[in-house]
């Protein structure tokens, strides 16, 4: 549950490791002036498998499966399918990413999406509301739910993992109520459905929705003070608070934003199929979470938008390739891929943490010897 375990200190090549003690000056003659790493080395470091392993994975899958299935894999139909299918999951992954940046977990994303979808379909079947109004109501409902989760976490001081697990079950109840435990099929107008299945310049229109949300989120996270506040809260909440960051608001806000994006994901889902059943939601949680964690091991070593998308699509193409290569459709390949990828990604990202701890220990001040868990402990400074 520790977000920090996925974060990583810059490669040793970029960070003169010996710099951490009192005699740093002596060991660092080279960097006494401005610190500039040669461009070529920076590019090389940037292309290292540790930073963009998912991109290599992506390329590997495309090459391997193109060779295995020369006629079916490398076609625009396959690409269109994978991309349009992936939009909902990717939106949910982005929704998960926002609170995660602030070290809060939103496990209700799957059922939030289901609530949104359910409301769209139910309002279509049981009221005369236009589909667009229903969609807006659905997004508002999800936003409100996010606000509720935020309230439980920030005001009632419940751990986010537990709070959103609870919210998620409550949502499931709502979803079951809406569905009446059967599959509902909406009768949306064509104009609404077109928003889900049209193509623009040969690219599924829904991909643009994802792109829009991604760019907005990337901008906010990486280029505005709000993004700084989110990552500072996630990195060290106490220090952030004492620096003036209103960490409670940050966490709360992150869950509200997460809810809104989940609502949008449900609306997009409804545009694409118009079919709703209570079992829709939970299956989306894991792929989204896996994409975020795998993505967090990419580029910056912290949760980030493009890493998440690349991670998702690398996995998705792998799954698609396996499905095409096997006569039975290989339904088992998806969870297998996701499970393996998640473990590999997180273990890759946490190895540098071990290295950092070792380094920190070596640099510890004489007085800062850690207490031994055993009976003979280090004396706390007194003299």
């Amino acid at each position: 549950m520790e977000i920090k375990s996925r974060r990583k200190v810059e490669d040793a090549s970029a960070a003169p490791a010996g710099a951490a003690s009192g005699n740093a000056n002596a060991t660092l003659p080279a960097s006494s002036g401005r610190h500039e790493v040669p461009l070529a080395r920076r590019i090389l470091a940037g292309l290292g498998p540790r930073r963009i392993s998912a991109v290599y994975l992506f390329i590997l899958f495309v090459v391997v499966f193109s060779l295995i299935n020369p006629n079916t894999f490398l076609t625009s139909a396959t690409f269109r399918l994978v991309f349009s299918e992936g939009v909902v999951t990717c939106l949910l992954a982005l929704a998960f990413l926002i609170p995660l940046a602030a070290n809060a977990y939103d496990l209700s994303i799957g059922n939030l999406m289901a609530l949104s979808l359910g409301l769209c379909v139910w309002l279509n079947l049981h009221t005369g509301l236009p589909a667009s109004v229903a969609a807006i109501l659905a997004i508002l409902a999800c936003t409100a739910t996010g606000a509720f989760s935020g309230f439980v976490i920030v005001k009632l001081r419940v751990n986010s993992f537990i709070a959103t697990l609870g919210t998620s079950q409550i949502l499931l109840a709502l979803v079951l109520l809406l569905s009446g435990n059967s599959q509902l099929i909406a009768e949306f107008p064509d104009s609404y459905k077109k928003l889900g299945i049209d193509q623009v310049a040969g690219i599924p229109i829904v991909v643009f929705y994802l792109l829009g949300v991604s760019i907005l989120l990337w901008f906010v996270l990486e280029h505005t003070p709000i993004g700084r506040y989110l990552f500072a809260t996630g990195g060290n909440e106490q220090a952030a608070r004492l620096t003036g960051v209103r960490t409670d608001r940050v966490v709360w806000g992150s869950l509200i934003a997460s809810g809104a994006i989940c609502g949008l994901a449900g609306v997009v889902y409804s545009m694409r199929t118009g079919i709703f059943s209570a079992t829709t939601g939970p299956g989306y949680l894991f792929p989204a979470v896996a994409a975020v964690f795998l993505g967090a091991s990419q580029f910056q070593q912290r949760p980030n938008v493009w890493g998440t998308l690349i991670a998702y699509f690398a996995l998705a193409f792998g799954i698609q390739g396996l499905a095409l290569s096997s006569t039975s459709g290989a339904v088992w390949s998806q969870p297998l891929f996701e499970g393996v990828a998640l473990i590999v990604a997180v273990s890759l990202a946490s190895r540098p943490i071990v290295a950092r701890l070792r380094e920190a220990r070596a640099d510890k001040d004489l007085d800062a010897i850690e207490a031994d868990p055993g009976p003979a402990k280090a004396p706390a400074g007194s003299g």
């Binding site: 710099a19 960097s31 610190h35 003070p225 709000i226 500072a232 060290n236 220090a239 004492l242 031994d372």
Partner: protein
Amino acid sequence: MPLLEIREMSKTFPGTRALDHVDLDIAAGEVHALVGQNGSGKSTLIKVLAGFHEPDPGTLVRVDGEEVELADPAASRAAGFRFVHQDLALVDDLSVVENLALGRGFQTGAMGRIRWRDERRAAQEMLDSLGFDFDVRKPLGTLAAAERTGVAIARAMWNWEDGARILVLDEPTATLPMAEVETLFRTVRRVRERGLGVIYVSHRLDEVFSIGDRISILRDGRKVGTYKTADLDEDKLIALMVGEAVTRVAGAKAAPGGATVLAVEGLCGTVLCDLSFEAKAGQVLGFAGLTGSGREELLPLIFGAGERLGTVAVDGRKVKAARPESAIAAGIALIPSDRLHQGGVFDMSVTQNLTLTDPGRLTGPAKEIRRGRERSEVRDWIGRLDVRPSNPDLPLAALSGGNQQKIVIAKWLRMSPRVLLLDEPTQGVDVGAKAMIHALVREAAAAGAAVVVASGDDEEICDICDQVYVLRDGAIVGELTQEQMSIDEVGRMQLVGRGNGHAPVA
């Protein structure tokens, strides 16, 4: 023959000799108090005994007349040393029985099942023998402070027939309410009755006199002497600890005395009680005090890191408690003592840490942070404070303690604070960074800020402050102007027993 003989113990760190040929004898069945000011070498001596520091060659340690090699904590334990530290290293959520088993392991029966009944009985017997009668099934967190210390002692002494010879208690009462000190003393006497040697380290002289059989005084790494408690009184002891009254001549410092910027009235915390003072523009005000005097909680309380009683006003306007952002808006800045947990976000870059105080001032029309402006501001600070390595993209964690502290200070200096609060500003930083930080503090005052420094380092207090308040037991017990200020005087005022009147609130 003494139980423990230390001969010619020296310990040299680069640049300093922390222990200088110290001889010490501890008898069986004796409580031997070890006293000395901050930096006198007590900590080092204990760390050597615990096997955390290797002593210099020529050091001799004998237990029961047999020479022992204190290469590591395990060797120290095998030699019969047991330690209870100020931080008791207990787990509040676990029961007393479970806490006792930490580090020792449980007695298990068939299939690895813990023999709870045996464990409980043994734990109860152990604590009974130390003079406690609480239920060992209770979670540790529900016990009184002295009882928790008792559990820590019980754990250190577990199976005392099994080789425990010397119990070292390091500041055991620093976090203990006064009413519970006697409970602890009772326990210590029981340990003594068992024939163990007890080394009792404390800053509190009244305690030393009530529990100690003999007292050894360390000063500047040397032993000043060992005395029977009956042969000393408080004045004599203080004179021995402080040494010759060498009055420091204060350096050329700016004369204090602008308008009052910070006004604190009736401030109360856990230990602090009804504290009032003012800080003026251009002044560096110091707070000295021992650990437990309330010094540690003063600045966070003023900043409003948590709830507080009393009022804090900047330029006449009151500042809300428990709202760091409103303190910051009022112009207060806090450099916290706990850098690791409160000072910075260590996974974030130097740049992002530095501008976190107010990234909004760097934004353009779309609320985006303008990287060029940010970069040039950060480069300016890095150059000004000589931060090394100078790469602003490194994570804060990659810097040394001193350079991290420079960044933490810089992030507040960029706010041009009206009130700059520095808590242990040079703890764990190297000498060069220390000088730099002291210069920055003077500079901030010269620029018109009211600066308040709380520090356990008396030398630091004397070096940079225009005026010093000395804290003891939660109250100001003395005030020294620049002319009266000396390390010895500051040290002496912190020591004299427990203050009168202001008993700490449990």
